[in-house]
Symmetry: C2
Subunit: 151 residues, 2 copies
DNA sequence: GAATACAGTACTATTATAGTACCATTTTTA
DNA sequence: TAAAAATGGTACTATAATAGTACTGTATTC
């Protein structure tokens, strides 16, 4: 099974919670209780999401977090990217470490592998946070401009 | 980062290798050497792939493995599914354990989450093993019948 | 200036993955 | 018919990644 971590799961719950009341400022403690996770864990995730540019934060008493952009402009790729790094499926598939694979010769898979990552990326980019707040909305999958069925 | 395990990476290399010469029977030792992994690891993977119905096997001297279907009829979902279980992204998203999530009330995310898994699934199902053997072929992403842009 | 809340970092425990070993079963061949 | 070669199944160990926690620092409000 391809899976993402528990923390990312929680992170999406947090983001979804905030998306339901975007105007207000929400303290970490309030969020932790609402989502059903411990405060330390919530703190950790909120920091990461803020650091990733998805949340605005305000310090001090009456401080808290709020969405940095409107829910329509935040996708699953943004959230997963902030919590787990760039979406890729294998070591040789990520953009940053091009020459990492030791068996370049037998690995013609590489280029295609990156395409697969791209496909998954596109799928996740097609789901906005706004869509997550409503019970069931059809998800759009956009084919990239270059993609067309092989005849 | 969403990632799949090393073993699955190896598994795809194995399948790609076999796809290049589908007619012949390939022994585990030959495959291990060709792909660049140890024999025990190759054995483990080949067993899993055979058990998953992706490989036919023949025992005894002169035995070995070969693709159970033609490369065009094997997709990334098949391979990943055989090595890591069904493609899903989180515990509550998989089909088999519907009531596992403890915070059902605050989790309206669930249904959408399953849709995301479905989107990823579709993306991976759009890549055949045959396409992996050629250096660079455009990958098709099919939108599901129900999917249509929200106006 | 005290209390509250976020920011950053480092550490520990847990869990999942990767890797290995062993024995059983089937088929070929000498 | 026996030995060798190859797959089938299972269980175990070691490693690595994840999850969780704690501590210190900084900003803001009252």
């Amino acid at each position: 099974m391809i899976r993402i971590g528990k923390l990312t799961d929680y992170g999406i719950l947090i983001m979804t919670y905030l998306a339901r009341d975007p105007a207000r400022l929400h303290a970490a403690q309030e969020i932790a209780q609402a989502v059903g996770i411990t405060l330390p864990t919530a703190n950790k995730l909120l920091k990461m999401l803020a650091r990733g540019g998805l949340l605005d934060s305000q310090r001090g008493t009456k401080g808290g977090y709020s969405l940095a952009r409107e829910p329509e402009a935040i996708t699953m790729v943004d959230i997963i990217g902030a919590l787990e790094g760039p979406v890729g499926l294998t070591d040789c598939g990520t953009a940053q470490q091009p020459g990492n694979c030791q068996r370049e010769r037998s690995c013609s898979v590489k280029a295609n592998w990156q395409r697969i990552s791209q496909a998954v990326n596109d799928a996740l980019a097609g789901v906005t946070l706004a869509e997550m707040t409503v019970p069931s909305q059809p998800i759009r999958i956009f084919a990239r401009p270059s993609a067309q069925p092989v005849t």
